[in-house]
Symmetry: C2
Subunit: 320 residues, 2 copies
């Protein structure tokens, strides 16, 4: 059932033992909002654990509490409350779902959230789940510590592309201002997130040389086959390199991460790419979405491009 | 003489005919603060012109009033007040200085500003001159129109590297929030500024493949000779591609823009690069500075690297 922010706050207040989790393939908002809420609840004297069923990207190792995040290795989990953060579908939390039978509180900002949980607080107007956690912090009257601030700021800055995407609101900027006042240094976060090894910079430059354009330039993408993917340390930020191409409405990054399994990221300047992602059982937002296509690269590429081109074919041409 | 914000406001209030100018090689803050102030003064019923002695970068053609900016082609300029914005040294305004003999009001945020003008309002704590213009707008009790907001937001976002640099403060974020409330869409600005042609993306990728590292990786740079420079449409953002290299303290972009004339941009994560720039008669801030070295590329490169390495040699090693 859908609940209010106040009710979500009350659920947290009345629980003593709380497990926090977020989606697999965790990003800055999944990690930032999870660890931010972790510190909030710790400061309130709760017993709290953060459990995420995936490897964590190294980029975020500067987040206070990063080293405390565990995978769900135990057979069974019990708590007063499992808090699912930043997840569109609760199945995206991995093995924890089957290992936990108790009450679930889901806090999310994805408009695509299906809401198949006990309690859902959803606010699709918020750019990041971290913004909602900041609202909860205010609701719960907890002081924003520097640790909380670093975590929540990271969620906000990553989900808004460093305050550049259309989801960036005056609310976002004021929330970020409060985090800076609580001790965050903007450059510490941006330098940590943007830091690249020499190899990563060279790999990225080579990848940019392979950009392909389709539909008179309205669609562009980078398509990475398995051997190339396996040679890369990261593909973080590749999609932004495509997104900035003049005239591009839909930017694509497709990478074959296992034989016959292609992971897709899409960014848009207008077209609703969450619809395209959903047609391949993925999810996301209007301007940023992703999915997995279980086909070899060439086949997955054709399937995706056919879908993208058919969707943009129904949309008016955007000025380049 | 140094004056207060209130006094600067009073100078503007009492003048009827005002010319606004900014530094040559104008950036987003020079253009944004100039055009922002232009709209403010227009809304107050003043006679206003913006005159900048340089070609304007196309990237900013979305700024309201961009097409009204002129070069100082007349023989002589008269006004009640010439407002110099975002300039460290008044000689950097080009030919206008010798064509105008009246009163000068300088509004700036560069700590290196020498203050050799009639009236100077300097606030080195502000990330952008556009932030100061926003304070003036509040002082003058002018409504922030959407036009004003787009101009000032652009100044703020460009001078803070999209709110990522160390100069980004809670004040910056709140000022930006006010601009969003006045009608700015963050993505309109970021997409306009980040938009790159296919050629630009390919050129940039090739440039990244030429990154050179020095001083055990604490210094890194891209060095562009004249023939390559002449083949490029822009080098915007190249320095950021160097800045993100792990372990780099000083990032350099050097380009030979004419035979025997090399323009240098530097970004730092700690070292005061304004000192290095000043030793070549340039200027800027601790973490972002620039200069011009009138030598062929190979010679200019050696001179600059010698200086940079001698400066960082006196600083403690920063953690990579």
């Amino acid at each position: 059932m859908n609940i209010t922010l106040q009710e979500a706050g009350a659920k947290l207040l009345s629980a003593e033992k709380i497990i926090i989790t977020a989606h697999i393939n965790p990003d800055g908002d999944a990690l930032g909002s999870s660890l931010g809420l972790y510190h909030v609840l710790k400061d309130m004297g709760k017993s709290v654990e953060v459990i995420i069923d995936d490897d964590l990207p190294d980029d975020f190792d500067f987040l206070p509490g990063y080293e405390l995040i565990k995978k769900p290795e135990a057979e069974k989990y019990e708590a007063d409350l499992l808090v699912l953060l930043d997840v569109s579908y609760d199945e995206r939390i991995g093995r924890l779902r089957e290992k936990y039978q108790g009450t679930v509180l889901n806090i999310d900002h994805h408009g695509t959230n299906k809401g198949d949980v006990d309690y859902l607080y959803l606010d699709a107007d918020r750019a990041a789940t971290a913004e909602i956690i900041y609202q909860l912090v205010q609701e719960l009257k907890v002081k924003v510590s520097q640790d909380i601030a670093y975590c929540l700021y990271t969620g906000m800055t990553t989900d808004t592309g460093h305050f550049r995407y259309s989801n960036t609101s005056a609310f976002t900027m004021r929330a970020a201002a409060a985090m800076l006042e609580a001790g965050v240094k903007a450059e510490v976060v941006s330098e940590a997130l943007e830091k690249r090894s020499y190899k990563e910079i060279i790999d990225r430059a080579k990848a940019m040389l392979t950009i392909e354009q389709f539909a008179s330039g309205r669609v562009a993408g980078i398509f990475i086959d398995l051997p190339l993917y396996e040679s890369l340390d990261t593909t973080e930020g590749y999609i932004d390199g495509v997104r900035v191409l003049a005239g591009v409405d839909v930017a694509i990054l497709m990478k074959e991460i296992e034989p016959g399994v292609c992971r897709v990221s899409m960014r848009s300047k207008g077209v609703d790419v969450s619809v395209i992602a959903a047609s391949f059982d993925g999810g996301g937002h209007i301007r940023a979405a992703g999915c997995t296509i279980k086909k070899p690269l060439a086949e997955a590429k054709k399937m995706l491009l056919d879908k993208v081109i058919s969707v943009i074919g129904t949309e008016p041409q955007k000025e380049a």
